[in-house]
Amino acid sequence: MSSDPINTDGFLARLMRDQLKLSITCALFFVTALIALPLLNYFQPEWMAQRVAGFTLTWLILGVLFFPFVWIISFIFIKKSIALENAEAAAAKDSQKK
């Protein structure tokens, strides 16, 4: 096992770094929205209370629009993460052959 290029610290570190980078990038969009919405409600209550098609703006965002927003993030993440895994697997197999 010790001669296997997969079982090295370098390979593992790169693997985890790439995966974590992708996860954190996606999480940032989501976390930003979660932090920003209460802040907007706090500092701009009147603007957030304006009516949009009967809803208040903040109600429309939280009660309806938030769901598709999260779907988009997860769709992008899954696409990228499956591609990343395939690339990693191909690279690892290549280096094993050498």
Binding site: R51, G54, F67
Partner: protein, 608 residues
């Protein structure tokens, strides 16, 4: 004797509910014949397809809290309650981004398996098992309240505890017969039943009494002199107990300001009142953030949801499943708040009622309004459909919880601690008896919580999971330097301190309810008179910030848990498992490299 008190049962409602129960039990029996091995019982043979599994996870996840509690809470407290459905759905994103894939690749039956496998520590397994049971019981209580509320609604006059006992017994029977494979099928079916039951009645109802946005438009905000749409839809007069329009429709309303309002009311002088009043808005912002952290991190740590990821054939399937779960539950969660909004206009009398007759039953109550609009039959049928959905809601979540808790007891406590050399047959028998035992305890606890809001109780279960399992899983998956001692300290201190903080607030709430002569059970009545509970209640009134931090502990408990994990792991760095690189590779390397197979052979003996 009990039946004699029951008057006026709507046949449609009773029939729809009965059909749901019969189908659930029937499917349980049918699949019981197909569940043979221990693997079938614990993780459904690890071969459930993405579509089935996503429906089943969603079915399990959409509990009584989602089906009845969210609507009730939106009606009772307004905008702030919207955070619940949003974070219930979006917490899944965290699970997807950080936990779902690695956990599946690691390949273990349960969280305790993961805890032991990652740290080579049987002691840690025992600690993790205790936590599965702890969080599980906290989460079963609101499901039991949903059961009691619904049955009391279908059979007016039926005592609350009878509903709890009947439903609990039926599901316990179902789980002990079918195990995990049995409930996968049942839960997938129940997801689609719940979506049908929440959407169809509200579409028909809204087309007759006015739509979501029209009813919302009839509530005036604090920046308007009159509601823009007060005349277009019918609105009944709100009772004095209902929150005012401008508080209800705006953020930082009754839910987040309750503690401060209580201490303003109790403040002796106008100056003191003004001082507390100044803190009201910052405190409610704090409450909001703490709630968000609890719900988002808690979703990623709920044991009965996590166990389902092991039923995927591979990590890619686990990710695809999460994507579909997010869509399925997101679609569902748009609708319960609609009931709350329309309920505020049309059934305001619920604000005056308490316990099983309060706003928690707005989903069941609303369709019957059609009877007053010359659609008597339609109203009964639709109400029957929502009752069936409510049944599906608490039955599926309770069965899921029961499976994961029973799994912990039978697989971990019996199969690995008490009798490691037991045969598969003995383990199956143990699974069945463990289901009965846990079912009985859950029923007992469920009879004590009538006074608490369904959704509120679920939020508390999430806060405890957020402060224990989430840090454990997140840090174990992404940090090589974690040691067993670090993980155990962080999880225990985080989880237990959240548990204690939450219990302190719940105890005085239950006692308060008893003091108001609510039917909350003997335990509550005892507590109401107890000097300790009076002392705690007085403390809350004079310290609203402490009360908020204890009611919503996630904002300090999650960082506390993670900090402890890092500090203790650094101190015990020499105890990092020797084969840590291999463990991390198994967690992170693509499955195409075939590392998992190797690992599983090493760790074999997991119950087959």
């Amino acid at each position: 004797m009990i039946l004699a008190e029951v008057t006026h049962v709507d046949p449609w409602i009773a029939v729809c509910s009965l059909i749901t129960v019969v189908i659930t039990v029937g499917m349980g029996f049918w699949s019981a014949g197909k569940s043979k091995s221990a693997g079938d019982f614990f993780v459904a043979g690890r071969s459930v397809s993405v579509g089935w599994n996503a429906s089943a996870i969603s079915g399990e996840y959409l509990s009584a809290a989602s089906f009845m509690g969210v609507a009730g809470m939106v009606m009772a407290t307004g905008y702030d309650a919207l955070w619940y459905p949003v974070c219930y759905a979006c917490g899944y994103l965290f699970l997807l981004l950080f936990i779902a894939g690695p956990l599946r690749r690691f390949g273990a039956y349960t969280i305790p398996d993961f805890a032991e496998g990652r740290y080579d520590s049987p002691i840690f397994r025992k600690i993790a098992v205790c936590f599965v049971l702890f969080i599980g019981f906290f989460y079963t209580m609101p499901q039991m309240k949903g059961a009691g509320t619904t049955l009391a609604y279908i059979f007016p006059g039926l005592p609350y505890w009878v509903g709890v006992a009947v439903v609990g017994a039926v599901i316990t029977l179902n789980v002990s017969l079918g195990g995990m494979k049995g409930i996968t099928l049942v839960q997938a079916f129940q997801y689609w039943l719940k979506v049908f039951a929440i959407t169809l009645p509200i579409f028909i109802l809204a087309s007759i009494v006015g739509h979501y946005e029209q009813h919302l438009d009839a509530n005036k905000t604090g920046f308007e002199t009159a509601a823009p749409n007060a005349s277009q839809v019918e609105r009944k007069v709100l009772p004095a107990k209902a929150p005012k329009d401008e508080q209800w429709i705006a953020p930082f309303g009754k839910l987040t300001t309750k503690a401060v309002d209580a201490s303003i009311a109790a403040a002796p002088t106008p100056e003191a009142k003004a001082t507390i009043e100044a803190n009201k808005k910052p405190y409610s912002l704090l409450y909001t953030y703490s709630l968000i952290i609890a719900l988002v991190c808690g979703t990623a740590g709920l044991p009965h949801i996590l166990v389902r990821f092991y039923t995927n054939p591979d990590g890619v399937a686990a990710k695809r499943t999460t994507m579909w779960v997010m869509i399925l539950i997101g679609v569902f969660y748009v609708f319960p708040p609609v009931y709350g909004v329309i309920g505020r206009s049309l059934t305001p009398e619920l604000y005056d009622a308490v316990g099983a007759k309060g706003t928690d039953k707005v989903v069941l109550e609303l369709p019957t309004l059609l009877a007053g609009k010359n659609h008597a039959l339609l109203g009964s049928i639709l109400s029957g459909i929502t009752c069936a959905g409510a049944f599906a809601a608490f039955m599926s979540t309770f069965s899921g919880l029961l499976v994961s808790m029973t799994g912990a007891l039978a697989h971990d406590v019996y199969g690995r601690m008490l009798k490691p050399d037991s045969t598969p047959e003995q383990r199956l028998t143990a699974f069945k008896w463990a289901a009965v035992l846990i079912g009985a305890v859950a029923i007992g606890l469920g009879t004590q919580v009538e006074a608490l809001e369904i959704n509120f109780m679920v939020g508390q279960a999430f806060a405890i999971a957020a402060a224990s399992y989430f840090p454990l899983l997140f840090m174990s998956v992404w940090w090589r330097g974690m040691t067993m001692k670090g993980a155990a300290t962080g999880m225990l201190v985080g989880g237990l301190s959240a548990l204690v903080a939450i219990s302190l607030t719940s105890i005085s709430d239950v006692a308060n309810a008893a003091a108001k002569k609510l039917p909350a059970g003997d335990l509550a009545a005892y507590w109401a008179d107890h000097p300790i509970s009076k002392c705690i209640a007085d403390y809350w009134v004079s310290h609203p910030l402490a009360r908020i931090l204890c009611e919503q502990p996630a904002i300090w408990a999650v960082p506390l848990s993670i900090t402890l994990m890092i500090v203790v792991s650094k101190l015990t760095a020499r105890q990092i498992p020797a084969d840590i690189r291999m463990k991390m590779l198994v967690l992170h390397a693509p499955e195409a490299l075939g590392l998992k197979q190797e690992y599983i052979k090493e760790q074999e003996g997991l119950g087959h």
